[in-house]
């Protein structure tokens, strides 16, 4: 994990991405952006990159996930769960589970975004998966907290 934090792979924005999404938010204190370049014909992921505003585990999880999906068909990429991430990272401590969840949430959102104006495949579920729900929940929780503390998230001054 520390190795991936120190030397993350697939780091940075991607200009020729054709699917992009974020999960988490500044307010959460954890945010992951995923960029995919998908081959239109084969629906195989050619390139995957990420950016992260988050802890070391977050960065490592995103780096690992982008590494795992490279060269995979979307259907297979979709099936990666946060447990796979956690195991690959050598077992995330429970308080870090959400990092894996967030990374997978971002990936799935990117895949959904890709199919927004395309024909949806059979394997893509209608409703949100647990990971997507979790990402949503975390974002909402933080909005709630923000209201409680009467704090604005976003631009300063």
């Amino acid at each position: 994990m520390l190795e991936l934090f120190r030397n993350p792979k697939n780091l940075g924005r991607m200009d020729d991405a054709n699917a992009t999404a974020t999960a988490g938010s500044l307010a959460c204190g954890d945010m992951i952006a995923i960029y995919l370049k998908i081959d239109e014909k084969t629906q195989v992921i050619e390139k995957a990159q990420f950016e992260s505003y988050g802890c070391a585990a977050n960065i490592a999880a995103a780096s690992l996930l982008t590494e795992m999906v490279k060269g995979k068909p979307l259907e297979e990429a979709w099936k990666i769960s946060w447990v796979d991430i956690s195991e690959e990272l050598g077992g995330l401590p429970p308080i870090k589970y959400h990092c894996g969840v967030l990374a997978v949430g971002a990936l799935r959102r990117a895949i959904r975004a890709y199919f927004k104006n395309r024909e949806k495949p059979d394997w893509l579920p209608e409703g949100p998966t647990p990971e997507e729900k979790h990402a949503l929940e975390e974002e909402k929780l933080m909005e709630m907290l923000a209201r409680r503390y009467k704090i604005q998230v976003g631009k300063r001054g």
Binding site: L2, G29, E51, Y53, G91
Partner: protein, 411 residues
């Protein structure tokens, strides 16, 4: 403790490697110990002064003598009498005793507790726990530097108030409260209140005298003022009623059962003795290192905010800065790779990444709170330590920023 974490932590440590130099600045979470204080504790063990101080044999008497002298040192440092000190094993325990113990002894019909919104959780949580037995908790807001809003404070004090608790120095942002002024306001509006102050972060940093401040209870913690772990203390002004919250065999004290940890208390007193003897020199040294650190960071890194006040209104050991567009915990790991140990207001220690309630209470934006880094200098640090830190901070921040999807367009 989940049983699969040990292997992971071992791997983390292995991957981390040993840094060329180590600078420990996480005094907020766990304090460094003066070598003299550690030695005093060890010598106490070797000299049988671990014995039960109320048993009738020479070892017990020597333990009693040592305990008593330690208590005089500690009490003397805060202007109290030895008989007004009760030992616990931590500041957390002393805060619990102060708040829950006073409530247990509360025979008045008054049921309101007033605290500032930036108190330590070991004050806020016990106070909240009293809600289920009918207490009302009022959290008074603070200004952007962490000073209690006097008008709101004054308005919160009415005839129903039983207990007030405001820390002398805030643990995260170093705000040195005008405690004397707050005590006056409170007593003016309700002379019957009990005024408690969490003085854990005040000891050795600012002059702190319970008589001068006119407080009724004050919490101290050994490891936060360079003594060993295992000793906290509660000053309770003679006459203030507190009931025990734990039960068992008593030794020299009525309010915390069990044998006192005499060796730890001896170490605590040694630390206090050093702080007392070298007060001005230590404070001057810490202030110099603090300002070196603050100014060095502010001048070498962009988009940095200092949390808390400046100058004499800030504790001399406290440095708390927010690096915008950076997540704090990632910074702590990045700096750790260089042997620089700091903590973050957004430490991922709870399931939800709730940022520090102190920073939020200041009106900080979430992203400011999440990027906050807390460092505490001590009399044991040197200018070389600070220079080493300053050499590594800019590159650490720029690396974390390079990973982030937020590049300054927000901010």
């Amino acid at each position: 403790m989940p049983s699969d974490m040990l292997r992971d932590v071992k791997e983390l440590i292995k991957a981390h490697g040993t840094p060329e130099r180590e600078v420990y600045l996480d005094g907020e979470n766990s304090g460094m110990v003066f070598p003299e204080a550690l030695r005093a504790m060890v010598n106490a063990y070797r000299g049988l002064r671990f014995a039960h101080p109320s048993i009738t044999h020479r070892a017990g008497w020597e333990s009693y003598e040592a305990l008593y002298e330690a208590t005089e040192t500690i009490a003397g440092f805060i202007g109290a009498e030895a008989g007004e000190i009760t030992y616990t094993h931590s500041g957390t325990e002393a805060n619990n005793l102060a708040i829950i113990g006073a409530a247990l002894a509360n025979k008045s019909g008054r049921r309101k507790i007033v605290v500032s919104s930036i108190e330590h959780l070991s004050v806020i949580f016990p106070a909240e726990s009293l809600r289920k037995v009918g207490y009302k908790l009022v959290e008074v807001p603070v200004d952007r530097e962490g000073f209690v809003e006097e008008e709101a404070f004054s308005n919160a004090i009415d005839r129903d108030v039983f207990l007030v608790s405001v820390a002398a120095v805030n643990h995260e942002i170093g705000t040195v409260q005008d405690l004397k002024g707050l005590v006056e306001i409170a007593r003016d509006k309700n002379p019957d209140i009990i005024f408690h102050t969490d003085a854990v972060d005040a000891l050795g940093r600012v002059k702190f005298d319970v008589r001068d401040l006119d407080v009724d209870m004050a919490t101290l913690s050994s490891h936060k003022c360079y003594g060993p772990k295992g000793a906290g203390a509660l000053y309770i002004r003679d006459g203030v009623k507190v009931e025990p919250i734990l039960h068992g065999q008593l030794s020299t004290q009525r309010l915390w059962p069990g044998v006192e940890n005499v060796p730890a208390i001896i170490g605590f007193a040694k630390a206090v003795e050093l702080l007392d003897r070298n007060f001005d020199a230590y404070v001057a040294r810490m202030r110099r290192l603090r300002d070196m650190l603050i100014e060095g960071i502010m001048s070498s890194v962009e988009h940095v905010i200092l949390n808390g006040p400046r100058g004499a209104r800030r504790a001399p050991d406290n440095v708390n800065v927010s690096f915008l567009f950076c997540e704090g915990e990632a910074i702590t790991v990045e700096l750790s790779l260089k042997g620089i140990y700091v903590s973050s207001g957004s430490a991922c220690t709870s399931r939800v990444l709730e940022p520090s309630h102190v920073l939020l209470a200041l009106g900080r934006l979430y992203e400011e709170a999440h990027g906050s880094i807390l460092m505490k200098v001590s009399p044991m640090h040197s200018e070389d330590d600070i220079r080493y830190v300053l050499r590594h901070v800019p590159e650490a921040i720029s690396r974390i920023r390079s990973i982030s999807p937020i590049k300054g367009e927000v901010g």
